[in-house]
């Protein structure tokens, strides 16, 4: 036995683990009241079983003998995904989540925009930071003034406080 599609097999294993986790977690949900014929546990259990079936189906498709004499060369080989830009964008998003309430919307929008641009190959960091800051500023003013929604000012808050 060999693995036909390693990536799919890995996804199948992940789904299998998730299914087990869901079933275990569902079993620990306290049951409902007597008038509730089904209770809060039933639906999560059904989902656990569904995930389990899906995982087994995926694994069955991914594991098995490689196709005999299949014209492998005919199908274009997809390039391996490049994880570096993914890591960069992820870091910028998580940074924004961590610091948006202290630093405010504008600086973190600058960082996110510059990180996104960098991930797509534009390396003019300072220019992109500046564009991001201006962009973030415009959105903040449009939102706060026009739509009455509040985005956090963060470190810039003192600038907008009335004096005294």
């Amino acid at each position: 036995m060999s693995i036909k599609h390693p990536a799919e097999a890995a996804f199948g294993v992940a789904m299998l683990l998730l299914a087990i986790g869901v079933l275990v977690s569902a079993a620990s949900i306290p049951s409902g009241f007597s008038y509730d014929a089904v209770g809060p546990r039933m639906f999560p259990t059904i989902m656990g079983v569904g995930l389990l079936l899906a995982a087994l189906g995926i694994l069955a498709g991914a594991i098995g003998p490689r196709r005999r004499a299949a014209p492998v060369a005919a199908t274009p080989v997809e390039p391996r995904p490049d994880w570096r830009p993914v890591a960069l964008i992820s870091a910028a998003l998580l940074l924004e989540a961590a610091l948006i309430e202290t630093l405010g919307w504008i600086p973190l929008t600058g960082v996110l925009f510059a990180a996104g641009a960098w991930a797509f190959g534009n390396r003019r960091l300072w220019l992109n930071l500046l564009i991001g800051l201006v962009f973030g500023g415009l959105i903040l003013f449009a939102f706060d003034a026009g739509l009455g929604l509040d985005l956090p000012l963060g470190v810039l808050a003192p600038l907008f406080q009335p004096q005294g």
Partner: protein, 501 residues
């Protein structure tokens, strides 16, 4: 007659100057975001949802109707000039539309798409106007087991039709259902899958999932796959108008596309993918020059575009009358209703007639606005298309966090956005369809509610689902749909082996 009076009343609401203004803003913003490569109507609606939060519900939904139509139009522009369809419904347009653009007939492709969309959208909205009240009559007779079966059928179709294997579709569907179950159980108040995280008690917002899966997931996917390599954009040159010949070849596909799109869009069949494919193959079969298809046949743009828009209006019928979303965009619209504490369904026509008919009337208005605003502004949209990729995706990330954060003002939602974006990336890399995730998320809680309601009435007797003739029939249909592809494959495999021992 009653319908006509209600519609006139709706026009009274939609044509108020303030509401016309919001419709125009919606159409413009919808086109501006929808035209960005890889961004489909569902993502556009989700990204722009926070902009409507400060408005009255009626105005907000009128703006939504504009955004929706604008996004459809913008999406077809991107498909034609850049070959980057933002969602499945635009894929067929991209085939011949982009081929026309390569030949320097991009302007004609855009025109037949715009006029066809206008025609189909208007006819389908008339259809919606008269079908919705009829559907409401039906909806009032449906019981909990019927609703349950209808939703199961809807999910079964989406899972069986999309993607290349039922297991993959099922995985996506159950992931969606699982995300939908996170939070407090609405009936007993028990926390489920919250892992002690307070923010999860309220459940996961559909907007966060839609933006995460589509906008962030797509951004990460493109970054991981192609990086900053620029897309090839085809400039508009030559005459901007459709010739007499173009008109002659377009009007029948518009008509047929509309007739195919509206009824299929109203069925629980997963939105615009099937009707557009059906329209494309119909046009190809009826054409005297089928070999032109794929190389810039104008029928191949006119038909699918009409079908796409007609199915979009068709999908609103079950959404408004039954509260049942049948496409991704409808699922996001349902989330918007929930944001305002409104529940689409037969009751909404009574309790909020002004809103429902105002929304339907604004679909007519939005369509007209789209045509008069967008045809002259096509140059501007083309310029938007040529934004360099790094800035484009940087901007999309900013809009994604803006939409997510401004929902609740909670930074945790950005973490969630990232996590769901990563899920979207993985699903895309493995070629797993993402539409079942969204529909599972939004239908999951509704299915559970109807299931428990039905079982409460039957005192725990599961046979209610099969003894009710309607629900039994629908469930059987769902089972057939899910089992047919693998059984066919098995039989075909066996036949092939018998033929070549």
């Amino acid at each position: 007659m009653e319908t006509f009076t209600a519609l006139m009343h709706g026009f009274g609401v939609a044509l108020l100057p303030a509401n016309l203004f919001w419709a125009a803003i919606g159409v413009t913003l919808g086109t501006a975001i929808g035209v960005l490569p890889g961004i489909g109507p569902a993502t556009t609606v989700a990204l722009l949802m926070p902009m409507t939060l400060g408005l009255e519900p009626v105005s907000a939904f009128i703006m939504f109707a504009g955004i929706y139509y604008g996004a459809q139009y913008g999406g077809s522009t991107a498909s034609i000039l850049l070959n980057t369809p933002g969602e499945a419904g635009a894929m067929m347009t991209a085939l011949d539309g982009n081929a026309m653009a390569r030949k320097g007939r991009g302007a004609q492709a855009l025109a037949t798409a715009a006029i066809g969309s206008f025609f189909a959208g208007t006819v389908a909205t008339v259809g919606l106007t008269f079908a919705a009240p009829l559907l409401v009559e039906v909806a009032l007779k449906l019981t909990a087991p019927d609703y349950f079966a209808l939703m199961i059928l809807s999910l079964a179709t989406v899972t069986a039709v999309l993607g290349r294997s039922v297991s993959m579709g099922m995985a996506a569907l159950f992931l969606g259902l699982l995300l939908g179950a996170v939070g407090l159980d609405p009936q007993t108040g028990q926390a489920r899958f919250t892992f002690g995280i307070v923010e999860l008690l309220d459940g996961i917002d559909t907007v966060v999932v839609a933006v995460g899966l589509f906008a962030v997931g797509e951004t990460l996917y493109v970054a991981a796959r192609e990086g900053g390599a620029p897309d090839k954009i085809h400039a508009l040159r030559g005459s901007m108008w459709m010739s007499r010949e173009d008109w002659r070849r377009s009007w029948k596909p518009w008509l047929r596309g509309t007739l195919i799109g509206f009824p299929i869009g109203a069925m629980p069949a997963g939105g615009s993918e099937i009707p557009t494919i059906l329209s494309y193959t119909t046009e190809k079969r009826l054409s005297r020059n089928p070999e032109e298809f794929g190389h810039g046949a104008i029928e191949g743009v006119a038909g699918p575009e009409a079908a796409n828009n007609a199915s979009a209006a068709g999908a609103l019928a079950p959404l408004l009358a039954l509260g049942l979303p049948t496409s991704t965009t409808a699922a996001v619209m349902l989330a918007a209703f929930q944001q305002y504490g409104l529940r689409p369904g037969p009751m909404l026509f009574q309790s909020n007639a002004e809103l429902v008919w105002g929304l339907i009337a604004s679909l007519y208005v939005g369509n007209v606005l789209l045509l008069v605003l967008n045809l002259p502004m096509v140059g501007l949209w083309v310029r938007l298309l040529s934004i360099p990729k790094p800035w484009l995706y940087g901007g999309i990330l900013v809009f994604a966090t803006l939409g997510t954060y401004s929902l609740n003002g909670n930074p945790f939602d950005i973490v969630l956005l990232w996590g769901i974006g990563m899920l979207g990336l993985v699903l895309r890399l493995l070629d797993v369809p993402v539409v079942p995730v969204i529909l599972g998320l939004i239908l999951g809680p509704m299915i559970e509610q109807q299931m428990r309601r039905a079982l409460a009435v039957s005192q725990g007797d599961w046979s209610v689902f099969v003894t009710h003739p309607l629900s039994g029939g629908l469930l059987l249909l769902a089972l057939v749909l899910v089992l047919t592809p693998p059984v066919l494959r098995l039989l075909r495999g066996r036949a092939a082996r018998a033929a070549h021992p």
